[in-house]
């Protein structure tokens, strides 16, 4: 019968379709809006691309999808490159996507806002979750590119500003393929260390696309879950990323992050020298005050009194001594005078002077004969002259 001639089996027609489609749509670009995006735990992505009138389902295998620098979000307009494939068992066709990029920068900003809103609603940005950043860290963990300029700046500033700390870097990519995953890994690794006081995540300046890794939800959650306070320092002052909102502290730049995280050695030097100078002055001031006070007291009337008493007593003593001395001297003088008087009187009886004047002393038997009648002419007489004695009548 004729019909059998041109009757296809399901497989046959499906196969024909498969060959036709797959051969003709090897490498095509499609623009559309993502919806019901699903990242399977296997790492493969399943989603639909749609526009106002149609939709087409897409798959993106893990091997290629981690090259996408952003995580697609429903509602995002993207341009994908891939090929059409037919899946016979379900009679469906899909796009096997090989690469994807946002349809325009606006898409990224839209995605940014969307995620920001979502996480904010979830409370990840609430200040109540913000942990205080310690003032005197000993170890600071850093999640950034080890060969990046940002890290070099951070090192030089730390060395100048507060070299007491230790920088512990968990190197990670900061843009491009699987950057977000590496950042998350670094944060987790740093959290495993026991003695890290602060973690700084960040990178140098760049375009929204360059910084995008820090806008990824997994990074936001890793920052939120970190037990250690995190300072987010992505790009320049004007760049704000989701990690900035979730972090415990936002620094405009990586260098600024080090300055926020560490005290300034010069300030400490100033404080220390101020202490030494100021209090040396103050203490010597206090000591001088006390000395003056003591002097005041010692010169006070009450204190001087005993001294005065002593003085007056010594004076009294001196006086009385003096008076005694005088009295004594006087007496001495009087006595001495009397003595001299007597002495002269005695002296006047002193024969030798009379003899000297030429008188002679008559003595008999050693006794002075004062009167003529007392003389016994029969006995020897001794005559004492001033210059000696002679005996007469000595026969």
């Amino acid at each position: 019968m004729l019909e059998t001639a041109n009757i296809f089996s399901v497989s046959e027609i499906t196969n024909l379709i498969k060959v036709t489609l797959e051969e003709n749509f090897q490498e095509i670009n499609i623009i559309g809006e993502i919806s019901n995006f699903k990242a399977h735990i296997s790492g493969h992505w399943y989603f639909t691309l749609k526009d106002a009138n149609a939709q087409i389902s897409c798959t993106m295998w893990r091997g290629v999808n981690n090259y996408v620098f952003f995580t697609p979000q429903d509602g995002m307009k993207v341009i994908v490159k891939g090929k059409v494939t037919v899946y016979p068992p379900r009679g469906s066709y899909q796009i096997d996507v090989r690469s994807m990029k946002p349809a325009g920068i606006g898409e990224l900003q839209a995605a940014f806002e969307k995620l920001k809103q979502k996480l904010s609603d979830e409370g990840l940005f609430d200040p109540v979750h913000k942990k205080p950043v310690p003032k005197f860290p000993r170890k600071i963990g850093i999640a950034t590119a080890i060969d990046g300029a940002a890290f070099q700046d951070m090192k030089s500033i730390a060395a100048r500003r507060f070299p007491l700390i230790e920088l512990v870097i968990a190197p990670c990519k900061v843009q491009g393929e699987s950057a977000a995953e590496e950042i998350v890994e670094s944060i987790k690794l740093l959290n495993k260390q026991k003695d890290i006081d602060i973690i700084i995540i960040g990178r140098g300046g760049g375009s929204l696309e360059d910084l995008w890794a820090f806008n990824e939800e997994i990074v936001a959650r890793a920052v939120f879950d970190s037990k250690i306070p995190i300072i987010s320092a992505v790009g320049h002052e004007i760049d704000f990323t989701i990690s900035d909102f979730v972090a415990d502290l936002r620094a405009p730049t990586p260098s600024a992050a080090i300055e926020l995280a560490t005290p300034n050695r010069d300030d400490l030097f100033a404080f220390i020298s101020e202490f030494s100078y100021y209090f040396t002055e103050k203490i010597s001031g206090i000591i001088n005050d006390n000395i003056q006070e003591i002097e005041l007291i010692t010169s006070s009337y009450g204190f001087r009194l005993p001294q005065d008493l002593i003085k007056s007593n010594t004076q009294f003593l001196d006086n009385s001594l003096l008076r005694f001395q005088n009295f004594f001297d006087n007496r001495m003088m009087i006595d001495a005078n009397q003595l001299r008087l007597m002495e002269s009187k005695i002296e006047s009886y002193n024969i030798t002077n009379t003899l000297k004047r030429g008188f002679v002393l008559a003595k008999q038997e050693g006794k002075i004969v004062p009167r003529k009648e007392k003389i016994e002419l029969t006995k020897p007489i001794e005559l004492e002259f001033y210059d000696g004695e002679i005996k007469i009548n000595n026969d």
Partner: protein
């Protein structure tokens, strides 16, 4: 290893601040203020030397090699 030293630096600095405040208030005896002053000066010297001699340490944490999960 540097744990203890850094600890004492921070504590010394805090103590220095305490002493500074106490001396500032001046409601303590002469003897006490001199004693505090001497403690302060020693602390100041200690902190000064630590700050002067400190050298930045930088260490790198190696990530365990991904054993093929993400080929």
């Amino acid at each position: 290893m540097t744990k203890k030293k850094d600890n004492s630096f921070e504590d010394s600095l805090k103590r220095l601040q305490e002493i500074s405040d106490t001396l500032e208030k001046g409601e303590i005896s002469l003897e006490e203020s001199i004693k505090l002053y001497e403690e302060g000066i020693n602390l100041a010297k200690f902190c000064y030397t630590i700050l002067k001699q400190a050298e930045l340490k930088v260490t790198e944490l190696k990530k365990q090699l991904e054993n093929g999960i993400k080929e």
